[in-house]
Amino acid sequence: MEMAITGKRLKDNLFTAYCIISLLIIIVPLVHIIGTTVYYGAQAINLEFFTALPKPPGEPGGGIANAIQGTLVLAALTMAISIPSAILAAIYLAEYGNSRFKELIRLLNDTFMGTPSIVAGIFGYALIVVNFGGFSAVAGAFALSILAVPMILRASEEALKLVPKDIREAGLSLGIEYWIVITRIVLRTAFPAIASGILLALARIMGETAPLLFTAFGNPNFANSIFEPISALPLIIFIYATSPYPDWHQKAWGAALVLMLLVLGINMLVKYKYKR
């Protein structure tokens, strides 16, 4: 009897140990990634890093201003395409329509969420780059939208559905048209949840590299218009990290630190400002 109980206690403790070790195996690399990025990244960063254009390998100095411009331009363009498209589609799914068609659209939207990001890049190339004058910020934003729209659409539809029916009925009983009830009252009520969906999509697309490789393509200079090739933080991290120059490796860490602060910052904002 004694033996049996100690045996069971031992098994219980072993089991707890297995669970804690599993957690550590994941947490240790996470801490290490953040730690090394901050450590090496901080050494690369100074004022010039943010304001100057890249220099050829071996030449000291230079910065990543083109990539920062690119990431901001691509993010703005992608959001300009994705936010209205996704919210309008979500309104149809939440407020109107017959259920068969809606089921199909929902299914396809969920399927889009499983699309590998590199395939979104091929799509952007085949549809935009080939037909509309080559690599450009617009093509990059299109490829990123393929990833952003499904996320925003889903978050918006769920948010709209959570708005109580009474609010719509109250609006309608005042004689307000339904579409005005939706755009002025229902959307406003659902706004915090939709905003958190938008911000999460924004954080996701800012960190994406694969869709940009053959759409935005990269650019050693500033892009003068959205119809030119454009750089981005993830693109230069990839190019610099796989180059043979130690000088560029350090720049890659610097860019990684900037990108990580942006992406994790947005995630934190969602977590604390718009608690779901």
């Binding site: 957690l23 889009f112 990839f238």
Partner: protein
């Protein structure tokens, strides 16, 4: 009144068009990938999938090394990840003190937010040297197992890609497993405890069997993610057209070859073959994702009764 109806109708039609655009984009995506890869399917047919040689200079295009690399890395990563995810999910639902469950969950979920190119950067400069200098000597004792028979000089090899993938998909599986375990009714557990059962017995005989299907759905979704992951794997797998059992040899994946060679593809058959790999990758990950989602939906509606 008539005017009012008109505004409603226009707005409804606009929203309909945007909902419809999801269907249009989806059809267009498939159409484009099929049309732009048709040259490869016409010229090579099934030989494209079973061909072992990828030699663009001699116009030889066989995708097997990439299909093999994708399946091997994602499958090994999945196996390790399932073991870790279960431990993490159980820790977060049954073992950890209530006050630290929320913060630790958030930290685990944070992993999914880190851009994959940053994980790749860390993979090149930290994980690959670690695999070469520390894991490799350890594994050399097991070199009679074909998986560990090779040798890596750089650390850029399939094993490193597997570890990177494991790290990236574990939070996904662990989070879904945790949510599934949270749905286990409290009274079932209480009943077991009142019979004098130990914690691991309750977890093994009550919690896991009850949440089994939900966990399984999460595992399938994690697999879908592993198949499609591009940047981190491209940066650490070594990029060699090899079909080798040894995980210490470099390899290549479907996503990685597209990322590396697409802009350099000269010649119609070359480009069309890369797009054909993209089509295979899309079909594979959509199929895996749909299966995963269906399992989870079915289980959720069952569990909610």
């Amino acid at each position: 009144m008539g005017k009012k109806m008109k505004g409603d109708k226009i707005f409804k039609n606009i929203t309909f068009l945007f909902a419809l655009s999801v269907l249009i984009m989806f059809s267009l995506l498939f159409y484009k990938l099929v049309a732009d890869s048709s040259l490869t399917w016409q010229k090579l047919g099934l030989n494209f999938i079973i061909g072992e040689d990828w030699d663009p200079l001699n116009e030889e295009f066989g995708a097997l090394p990439f299909i093999y690399g994708t399946l091997v890395t994602s499958t090994f990563a999945l196996i390790i990840s399932v073991v870790l995810s279960l431990g993490i999910a159980i820790f977060l639902t049954e073992i950890a003190p209530k006050s630290i469950r929320e913060p630790i969950s958030s930290i685990v979920e944070l992993i999914a937010a880190i851009p994959s190119v940053i994980i790749g950067l860390w993979g090149i400069f930290v994980l690959a040297p670690f695999v070469r200098d520390y894991l490799q000597p350890l594994l050399s004792h097991f070199s009679f197992i074909p998986f560990f028979s090779g040798k890596t000089l750089t650390g850029l090899c399939m094993l490193t890609a597997i570890l990177v993938l494991t790290f990236m998909i574990t939070p996904i599986i662990a989070t879904i497993a945790k949510d599934s375990l949270l749905m286990v009714p409290e009274d079932l557990k209480e009943a077991m405890y009142s019979l004098g059962a130990r914690r691991y017995e309750v977890i093994r005989h009550v919690c896991i069997p009850y949440a089994k299907n939900g966990i399984f759905g999460g595992i399938v979704l994690g697999y879908g993610r592993a198949i499609g992951e591009t940047m981190a794997v491209t940066m650490v797998i070594g990029n060699a057209y090899l079909i080798s059992l040894s995980l210490l040899n470099p390899g290549y994946t479907m996503a990685a070859v597209i990322a590396n060679e697409f802009t350099e593809a000269t010649g119609d058959l070359y480009l069309s073959s890369l797009i054909a790999i993209g089509l295979l990758l899309l079909v594979l990950s959509i199929a895996v994702n749909l299966v995963g989602r269906m399992i989870i939906w079915k289980w959720q509606s069952q569990a909610k009764g």
